[in-house]
């Protein structure tokens, strides 16, 4: 049970398709002019993603490896056509506002990406959960961006006025440039939070941020020492180098040099 739930949180946060993996940016940027559009697009993609993951996972032993991509595209395109006709029939106003981006779900990188990276290697149930997680992550990101753009650009939220009457809407946010701007800011905020938590983890695990001298396996990209000096915020030279790396690094010469800035930086970090 736990691994099924883990799939959902993975899609929502750790591997959020839009904000972390940067997949499916086209519809995300295009339809997030209103919060409601974000939900509509997110849920349509969720439906297609869950079904395509299910079908591809069921057929994963049947489809020959050489023609798998064309096969996936046909499966996804059929599902998208079904979804499009359903939306057209039951939610005509949503169909109007999403327009061409509904058929374009076919070429949404999230769907082919998940088919290729997950569904063709895992059981149907796990694939469905993965689809739900990824779809929810997409929906949340789109709704968040849509809500922010709607709030700043027209002073409303889900169509109801929330800003005071004197608020002059910043029209730029519901126009194309605002889409790039809002997503840039959301990703920047997420990066800032990520850097903060990683900083804390690094200090706890005793990493001195100097990857060149470190033999431990970590998910940090190996950065050259020069880069670290440039970016004290990203990787603070905090921690106790002696504890993290026993015996083998102590005879290395640079350690005393590296320890000095580490000492001062750590004090600064403790205050903050």
């Amino acid at each position: 049970m736990k691994k099924y739930l883990e799939r959902i949180t993975n899609g929502l946060l750790k591997e959020n398709p839009v904000l972390v993996l940067m997949l499916g940016m086209c519809p995300a940027l295009a339809v997030s002019t209103r919060a409601l559009n974000g939900i509509g697009m997110g849920l349509s993609t969720l439906a297609v993603l869950v079904l395509s993951n299910l079908v591809i996972s069921l057929l994963r032993k049947v489809i020959p490896d050489q023609v798998r991509l064309p096969a996936y595209i046909v499966i996804v395109a059929s599902l998208v056509t079904v979804t499009e006709l359903l939306i057209k029939a039951y939610l005509p106003s949503l169909y109007e506002s999403l327009g061409i981006y509904i058929p374009l779900i076919v070429v949404n990188c999230i769907i082919l990406g998940r088919a290729e990276a997950y569904a063709n290697k895992h059981t149907p149930l796990l694939s469905v959960m993965d689809g739900i997680g990824m779809g929810l992550g997409f929906t949340v990101a789109l709704t968040l961006a849509g809500a922010l753009r709607e709030l700043l650009g027209s002073g409303t939220l889900f169509g109801t006025r929330v800003m005071p009457a004197g608020y002059e809407p910043m029209l730029i946010f519901i126009q194309p440039p605002g889409a790039f701007m809002i997503f840039a800011l959301i990703i920047a905020v997420m990066n800032a939070i990520g850097i903060k938590t990683r900083q804390r983890q690094l200090v706890e695990s005793g990493c001195d941020g100097n990857c060149a001298l470190c033999a431990a396996v970590c998910d940090q990209p190996k950065t050259a020492p020069g880069k670290i000096a440039e970016a004290p915020k990203a990787v603070p030279l905090a921690g106790k180098p002696g504890e993290a790396k026993p015996a083998e690094t102590i005879p290395v010469k640079p350690v005393p040099d590296a320890a000095k800035p580490a000492e001062t930086k750590r004090e600064g970090g403790a205050e903050a």
Partner: protein, 193 residues
């Protein structure tokens, strides 16, 4: 007639820029624009494929889907046409002009998943363009894509030399640059014919 064709090309390339205004092909726009040379090659490949794809899609729609009354099948048909077309173009170039093939390299197959190509084909039939208008629209849009990606690549090569605050590094700063480009391209909206 001539004037309307020019209008379609200019609209596709500048006023209604496919990347900065319609948000199609963002993946490759953000992903490939790291290098100038790669961006220019991709732009060339997109011009090539998008023009042909628009033409073929238009013919398919007019002579197959419409007579059979199955317009709703357009998404499936167009994506298959584009995938097959990219494959054919790739094989043709490999045999006839290896130099161009070498220059385009990996970017040719990547175009299959470029939503701009499918987007233009779908937009064309939605706007009810005839065959020649479809070709003009495909060409104009592809030129617009090339302009946008080459401009962004040159901006990024300057961004790389600057000291940017840590949280903004990578995607966010590129998107802010794209936002400013988009504001600049909104200026073309004032063009009148």
């Amino acid at each position: 007639m001539n004037q309307s064709l020019i209008l379609i090309i200019v609209t596709g390339a500048l006023i209604n820029n496919v990347v900065l205004n319609q948000f199609l092909g963002i993946c490759s726009f953000l992903g490939v624009s790291k290098q100038m040379k790669a961006s220019a090659s991709l732009g060339g490949a997109v011009i090539f494929v998008m023009t042909i794809a628009s033409a073929v899609a238009s013919l398919m729609y007019d002579y197959i889907l419409k007579p059979l009354n199955i317009e709703y099948m357009r998404t499936i048909l167009f994506i298959l046409v584009i995938a097959a077309l990219v494959q054919i173009v790739e094989m043709f170039l490999k045999k006839k002009s290896p130099a161009v093939y070498q220059a385009l390299g990996i970017y040719l197959p990547l175009i299959t998943t470029n939503c701009a190509v499918l987007g233009v084909a779908l937009n064309n039939v939605q706007d009810g363009y005839n065959f020649i208008q479809c070709v003009a629209s495909g060409f104009g849009t592809a030129v617009g894509y090339t302009i946008a990606i080459v401009l962004l690549a040159s901006i990024r090569s300057r961004i790389n030399e600057k000291d940017i605050p840590a949280p903004l590094r990578g995607a966010p700063i590129v998107m802010i640059a794209a936002a400013l480009m988009s504001i600049a391209f909104m200026g073309f909206g004032g063009l009148s014919f």
